[in-house]
Amino acid sequence: MADTPMVAAHHVRLGSNSGQSMTRRDGIAKVTGTATYAADNHPENLLHAVFAGASIARGRVTSLDIEAALAHPGVVHVMTPDNTPALSQDPDQKTTPFTARIDVLQNDKVRYAGQPIAVILAETLEAAVEGARLVKATYDSDQARIGFDDGEAFDPEAVGISTPPKFSTGDFEGNRKKAALSASVEMETPLQYHNAMEPHAVVAEWDGDHVTVDMPNQAIGLAKPGIANYFGIPPENVTLRSPYLGGGFGSKAVLFGPQMLGILAAREMKRPVKLALKRDQMFGPVQHRSATRQSVRYDMDADNNLLAFEHKANVSTSSFDNWLDGAANAGLSLYATPSISVSHTGTRFDTGTPGAMRAPGIATGSAVIECAIDVAAEKAGMDPLEFRLLNYAEKDPSNGKPYSAKALRECYKAAADSFGWKDRPLKPRQMRDENGLLTGWGMGTSIFHAPFFPAKARAVLRKDGSARAETSGADMGQGAWTALWQMAADGLGMAADDIEFDIGHSDLPDGSVAGGSAHTASAGGALFAAGNDVIRQLAEIATQDKDSPLFGAGNERVLGENGRLFKAEDPNVGESYIDILQRAGIEEIEGRGRGNRDKASTETYAMFSHGAVYAEVKVDPDLFQVRVTRLVGAFAAGRIINPRLAQSQLTGGMIWGVSFALHEEGMHDKRTGRPLNNDFAGYHIPVLADVPHLEALLVDEDDPHVNDLGVKGVGELGITGTVGAIANAVWHATGIRTARYPIKIEDLLKGAQALGA
């Protein structure tokens, strides 16, 4: 990895903390094993819970024999639909767009393999595990429907979260008729399972009608009322603790059946209960990325300008809920195209319901779009970079809005220069390395939208000069404990070391969702504003105090830094926070803040982070084994709060791109619907030896419109662009395009036979 770069000087001006590559403030806790994840909690008198999963994918449980489980030493109870009380809210009711339909032993219906059909409670984990094995179920089973050819097709009302499934603009049909050239690509992408290293878990303990829940959660503000609704208690009776998440990637943003079963079991047993999913149970009730069958077509005029863009996606969901990956919306704001037609259809599989998985929609769609653009460049006889620059979008092609900021040209150049792209031969199969391996170079464009959520935060400055800032935000590895802390300290005009900081707890102000790559902007903006609110109040006190050197200074001309308030135009005139508060006899000042995005800006501008990724692959000419050997990306995402952590997010995303392109595939048996590879031996993700030389360059970008602080997201950006870059590099090495991800040896062999290579 390249050395951590410095960012431009004006970006450091947020305060003394932001822009610094601080090491993680939770680092010591994480390297010493003292960071507490949900399943690390162990209240006194704990019962262990393990659920038994359905071995069919569709039908009914006709009988459950729990005698052997109950007879096993240590097992104290087995929950089944016969003895499980109804929840206060029907778990099939969708109260918010973020509510998933879940299975909580409310009936005998089976909707996917691995669905909980019984919960075994025992004094030891070993007894609970064995008890789950001893539960014997019989079923009335219907034929499972898995795959686009077997599942039930339908027209969805929405994709993603409430996004329209169809969109068109411009004279699409007319432009198509005018086209001189066209390029189209059809590809499939598989089911992908999030598989955070920390399996979903819950530890629940009731005290009367108050429940304390340890559970990894990306959206505490939504989870708290969600749990309250299921259990018929007021939201203030739910205490949710989630200081550390062992990875989320979208899979810990909503409430799931197994975790609600743990909470329910604790209420039924009147004892604390711990329920942690086993790895194989991560392939059913806790979401995944939809499979897709996509076709993308670009039409061009005689000068190789794009005229029309068409993207169709058939997207999988479950039989009982409606999350669909919005793959065909991925290219709406990407390349300059005067006419666009995109549409989604849906297919119901007998699997659990999919959900948002790192860069939902965009990762899936751009994996195919970037191939289509390269095919278009090939037809035009142009270098892929030159073709992308020719069709560079100065305005969002879907709505004509200017971008709030778009340093994509600079990204293309920075990464191309570092990679050495200019030496790329135009034709495929031109390069071999010293060992005779086919070598290919490919590229892709990264894009991810920049949403903003209404987060809240609180800051307190005390008379002794100490301070505290807090929001309920979540750190799932992206670095919230560090980046948000930096922004909170800057809001207060203090060093990060000099303030207390807290996140990950439902008693704190709602920090909104850690998702959509919006958390640093949203929660960080709120923290900064809360600190500013403290400084504003402090300045009011000082400027009205005759004994203060700041007396009479206008409020707006006073700044806080390093615990000292001073005149903006004359920093020598000022005094410490402590002096102001002690003289005024005030114990503490409390500030409240919300991040802000100007409403007019939202209507005026298209807001995205951008990037460019270049990949080198080497392919064995006989065996067609593919290795990614180099990945260079450059990314522009507004103000970067912590370059070290931003870079880690981006390289992590690029590794997800490698995984998407070459490794990951959730397979289900078509006859039974059961997952075939629900463990890490079968479900492949990259290991260290699979990871190439990686570079993630940060390109300076000032975004004055996206929000008050000009912060955009980096968590999901790196996967977009990388997938297509690798597929394009494989084509460049071999001359072969496969019809599905992941790119497999057998598909390349077939392609080679077709080519006669």
């Binding site: 939770d26 290293m197 990871v691």
Partner: protein
């Protein structure tokens, strides 16, 4: 078939009562002794999150029965630092940002210490890439992990206490 065993963990003897011989070292550490730094990622030896040292050798504690370890010296992530002084591998992981969510990190660190001991301070970059490939990191912090392990080896060679 109740058993009482004694385990030497991080230099301290822990007496543990077991109802039967089934419990793994991982579950005994986490659920019976309260050493929860060692993590469960898969429970079948495929992810490395539960890696600990047994007599200096790295093992997957999820595949090791606790009853088989009487008389052995077990080291977990909690046993590395000396007060506030971190082990050089721990320091290197922080400085090179060798983690994001932190869940696989105790296993990565224990595995790195085992690897550096196996290779007697002469691990090549390639040996680290291969030798650390039994430890999955879903966040994709691999670039930092590679740099951290190489740097820790250099620190130890320069006399940092391991």
């Amino acid at each position: 078939m109740a058993l009482r065993i004694s385990l030497n963990i991080n230099g301290t003897e822990h007496g543990v009562d077991l109802e039967d011989p089934r419990p793994t070292l991982l579950d005994v550490l986490r659920e019976r002794i309260g050493l929860t730094g060692t993590k469960k990622g898969c429970d079948r030896g495929q992810c490395g999150a539960c890696t600990v040292l047994v007599d200096g050798r790295r093992v997957n504690s999820c595949l090791t029965l606790a009853v088989s370890l009487e008389g052995a010296k077990i080291t977990t992530v909690e046993g590395l630092a000396n007060g506030d002084a971190l082990h050089p591998v721990q320091t290197a992981f922080i400085e090179h940002d060798g983690f994001q969510c932190g869940y696989c990190t105790p296993g990565q660190i224990m595995s790195a210490i085992g690897l550096l001991s196996e290779t007697e301070g002469k691990a090549s970059a390639e040996a680290v890439r291969e030798g650390m490939s039994g430890n999955l990191c879903r966040c994709g912090a691999y670039a930092g992990i590679q740099d951290a392990v190489m740097d820790a080896q250099a620190r130890i060679a320069k006399g940092a206490k391991s």
